[in-house]
Structure formats: C-alpha cells, structure tokens
C-alpha cells in the first residue's frame, strides 16, 4: 500500500473517532451506533460473499451472538465482556459445525440453506421460552461493564457516547482485520475460488477449507455484532434477527458495491442514515430501500463505492492541477 493511501486511511479513522464528541443529539448517537453495527454485519457478510457464496442467514448468526451473550451474562454470571466474546464464539462454532455440509453446496443452494438455517435459529429462539423469553424476548440485559481507567476515573456504558466509542473501535479493528485478509493472498484465493473453483482446486487450493474458513470468520463477527447489540439495546426479540434483516444486510452490500471492500462500509452507512435522518421517511423505509437499490442497479452497477472511487480520482486530479497551477 502506498504511504499516501495509508495516511488518508489514518486521517479517516481519526476523524471518525473525533466526530462523535461534537454530536449533542442522543438520537443521532443512537443512529450512528446502529450504523456501526450494520457496517460490521455487512462487511462480514461481504467477506463470505468474496468466495462466491451469498448467505441469507447472517442475521441468524447475529441472533446467536446476541442471545448467547445476553443469557450468559444474565443467567450464568459471566462478565459482560466474557459474554460478548462468547457470543461471537458461539456463532463461529455453529458455523464451523455446519460448514462442511453447507460449503459443499454452491450459489443459490447455499443461499437457500443459510436462509433456512437463519429461520431455524429464530424458530428455536422463539420456542425455547424458558431460556429466551419467546416472542417477548429478553429484557434488562446488562450494559457493558464499567471499565476502570487509572484507578480514579472509569468509563460506564449506561449512556450513548461511550457505547458509540466502544462499537466504533470494535468496528475499526474488525475492518482493519477484514481489509488485511482481503488485500492479502488469502483474499485473492477467495476471489479465485469465486471465479472458478475447479481451476482453483486443480492449482492445489483446498476450496472447501477456504470456504469454511471465511464462513467461520464472517459468522464470528456477526455474532460479535449481535452480542454488542444485545448489551447496548438492553432488550432483544427474535424478530431483530429474522430473514428480513438478512435481506437488508444483503441490500447494504449490493448498494455499496460488493466487489469493493469500501462498499460494505458505504452501503450500510448511506442506507441507515438516509431514512433515519429524514424522519418523515421512516415509515416508508422499505420503499426508500427499493428505490435506492433500483437506482444503484440501473445507474451504478458497481455500487456506491465505485462512485466514491471515481469522485476521489477526479478530486485528486483537480487538486494536482491546482498544485501545478500554484507552483
């Protein structure tokens, strides 16, 4: 990576971390937290999609994380941070257990199977009332535990701002990790498998293992996002993790542009912000989604990320001309 590019990513991260301080509205803080959660979910979904597999059960894995973390911290006395990690782990373990049979099926069959799996998860959550509270869900899930700082100060998570910072840092770490994979030979291998899996196999690539690997990684982060969601919201119900949510996540990545890493960041950002910021549109959210989706599919087949890339190239060119003119 060129150092200039590295520097601009660094600035972007700094800006993202400073910006929340200036936001006074509790409502907007809440929206940004949801945004960050959606970005984690969409990016992990996109990672799975780079091997050519579109999961329609991603929200189910988020749900496993959410319920595992909530139940472990409420009923089994784990600390919220242990529970948070356990939530991700539970989603990954389930992914690993089913990876072998699931990863043998391809394309639309994979989508159907994961969709079914996601529905089974919500069904089990709904029916296992003793443990999960059934359709009325779990209430009073504890906030993340207070973090002591230098003995005298401490960070509590009962207000929105610390939660936003926690999820932003989580998001940045996850994005850096996923970007690291995407850019390395591992990501290249994933994309090679997506393009032609027999050719990849004949070059010695263990296709099934790579598919299982990325499925486990993606589901781990989905579980982690779900765990955080549970502790932040304090309330979870099965319908927060059903098929609709999985489809929304898919739309985020398509609108953002599934070929580009930035797509899974831009897509959820725009699609979470637009309907929320203009509150009048809130009831019409599905229509806004469909309108944006159609707009992108027809006019921007590469997704919003391509638009962004073209814009940054043009701005770069203008800047360079400006520098030359001044020199």
């Amino acid at each position: 990576m060129k150092s200039g590019k590295k520097l601009s990513y660094f600035f972007l991260i700094v800006v993202v971390l400073i910006l929340p301080v200036f936001i006074k509205s509790e409502y907007y803080l809440h929206i940004l937290i949801l945004c960050a959660i959606n970005i984690i979910l969409a990016s992990s979904l996109r990672a799975i999609a780079t091997v050519g597999q579109v999961s329609l059960g991603h929200a189910g894995f988020m749900g496993i994380g959410a319920y595992t973390s909530a139940i472990l911290s409420m009923k089994y006395g784990l600390s919220t941070y242990e529970a948070l990690f356990a939530g991700g782990l539970a989603a990954m373990v389930l992914a690993a257990l089913i990876a072998y049979p699931v990863m043998r099926v391809r394309t639309v069959y994979f989508s159907m199977l994961t969709m079914f799996l996601g529905q089974v998860v919500t069904l089990v959550i709904t029916e296992w009332r003793g443990m999960t509270g059934g359709t009325s869900g779990l209430l009073n899930i504890p906030h993340l535990g207070t973090i002591p700082v230098l003995g005298r100060f401490s960070i509590g998570f009962s207000t929105r701002l610390p939660n936003l910072y926690f999820v932003l840092i989580l998001m940045i770490v996850i994005l850096l990790f996923l970007y690291g994979i995407d850019r390395s030979y591992i990501g290249k291998t994933f994309k090679a498998i997506a393009q032609d899996d027999s050719l990849a196999a004949s070059a010695g690539i263990n296709v099934a293992r790579y598919r299982a690997l990325v499925f486990c990684i993606g589901c781990f982060f989905a579980g982690l996002a779900g765990s955080f969601y549970a502790h932040y919201m304090g309330v979870i119900t099965p319908d927060s993790f059903d098929l609709f949510i999985s489809i929304y996540l898919l739309i985020y990545t398509v609108v953002g542009g599934s070929k580009k890493f930035a797509g899974a960041v831009v897509g959820p950002l725009v699609l979470t912000l637009i309907p929320e910021v203009s509150r009048v549109l809130k009831e019409y959210q599905p229509f806004v989604f469909v309108a944006v989706l159609y707009g992108v599919v027809f006019f921007l087949p590469g997704g919003l990320a391509y638009l962004l890339e073209r814009m940054s190239i043009r701005i770069g060119a203008i800047l360079q001309r400006g520098i030359k003119a001044n020199a």
Partner: protein, 254 residues
C-alpha cells in the same frame, strides 16, 4: 512416474473408460488421441481427482492417488489445464499465476492478515516466481493486463502458466492448441518442449495431428474408452485400427 492399472469409469451404464493401462515416465511427453467421445477428458478427470474411478488404480510416484481430492493431487505434483479457456478472468495475468503459486510459498494465515514484513517478503518472492513462469510461456510483457481481455491464444498459454505455478512433476494439457492459429501453435509447441526441459513430464490430449506427431515421444489411442493402439508416432500413424477409427474403413492415412 504415473501408472494406471485397469482404470475403469462407468457413467450410468455407459463405460467411458475401460481397463486403461497408461504410463508416463519422467520427462516424457505422451499424447492421448482418439475421436470425440473416446473418453480422453474423462481419463484426465480421473487422474486429477475430479472424478473417482469405478475400478482400477492410479499410481503416482508409486503412491495410490485414487480417491484423493483435486487439490491434494495438485500438491503431490499433478496439475492440469482445461479444454475451455479456464483462467481467472477478473485478475491480472500476474495475479492469475501468483494465486496458483501461493500455496507453495508457505505463508501462514496470521502473517498475511496482519501484513507482517515476512509476509511482504514472501509475497514479493511469489510474484517473482510467477513472473518467471510467465517468462517461460512468453507472457512477461502482459503481466498487468486483465486476463479476460487477452486473446484466445494468450488465454490458453495463461492456462498453462497457471498449471505450472503449482510446481508440478506432471502436467496434463487438455487440447492446449485448440483454436490457435499456426503461429501460435508453433509457439505453444516450443513452450511445451521447454516445459519438458525443465524436468516436467507432459500428458496431452490434442486433435492437431501434425503437432501431436511432432512433439510426443509416445502416443496412446483411445476409442470408446479402450486403448486401441500405442507406441511411437510412426507406429501409431501406420496402425490399421487407428486409421479405421479416425477416418472410417477403407480410407487412407492423412
């Protein structure tokens, strides 16, 4: 090096390959010829693990490789090309070969994910290795082109380069010359000879008879899944059964 014993494959009642006894020695170029539907590609799919034999054994360097998965067989040293232009169309030429070379670079998951200096060094070495292979097939001037935009002939050569990337001891070429113009054929034949000079045995399926006769040390002729002749190109050329299978009864050799 490679030996098949009574290799047989049935497809729902149809016997595609019947009791085939094939062997390839080190640094040898062996051609499989025969009319369409003779079972040639099926033999390739059996050797490389894309299909499992109904009966019979496949031995490679004395080891039975029957039942192994394609990627495991590739690791043991047998790679292949495919009949159609099977390449990674969205990648650049260099990326195509590099992605097929990476498995032999010994890179770990974590060092790659965290982009450590060791990883960057190994990654750079892989690119150099891939560039060397592209030089062998004469495509080192096209490294940064998107593979999907290449001409048909170059896509075929890239397919061979991908096959070479996994550092095979035996390379299986499925109609490497199909659709090439005469100049490209000459070039491709030079490359195949060069591959053999590097110590790699080649087993190839090809319909271009003149090319096959000129380059192969030995030929095996299949018809309806059975070996009907084998030997040097000259022996095969004058074999009555071969002439009949190819040209029909009563005609003379081409």
């Amino acid at each position: 090096m490679l030996e098949t014993r009574k290799l047989t494959k049935d497809f729902k009642g149809l016997r595609a390959v019947n009791d085939l006894e094939l062997n390839v020695s080190a640094e040898e170029i062996v051609g499989i010829i025969g009319p369409n539907g003779a079972g040639k590609t099926t033999v390739f799919n059996l050797i490389t693990g894309f299909l499992q034999p109904t009966r019979g054994e496949i031995l490679f360097m004395g080891e039975n490789i029957g039942g192994l998965k394609p990627h495991a067989i590739a690791k043991l040293g047998i790679t292949r090309t495919f009949q159609l232009d099977r390449i990674f169309h969205e990648f650049t030429v260099l990326e195509n070969v590099a992605v097929a070379s990476h498995l032999h670079a010994g890179i770990g998951f974590w060092e790659a994910a965290f982009n450590t200096p060791q990883y960057r060094k190994k990654d750079g070495d892989t690119d150099k290795y891939a560039a060397k292979i592209l030089q062998l097939v004469g495509m080192d001037d096209k490294m940064d082109e998107i593979a999907g935009n290449l001409s048909h002939g170059h896509q075929k050569l890239l397919g061979i380069a991908i096959g070479l990337a996994a550092n095979p001891k035996l390379l299986l070429l499925d109609e490497p010359l199909a659709g090439m113009n005469p100049t490209e054929v000459t070039r491709a034949l030079e490359i195949i000879s060069e591959i053999r000079k590097q110590g790699i045995a080649v087993l190839l399926i090809e319909h271009n008879m003149r090319a096959v006769m000129s380059i192969c040390d030995r030929l095996v002729v299949l018809n309806f899944g059975e070996e009907i002749a084998k030997g040097s190109p000259d022996e095969v050329k004058n074999n009555r059964q071969v002439i009949q299978a190819y040209l029909g009864i009563g005609e003379h050799a081409a």
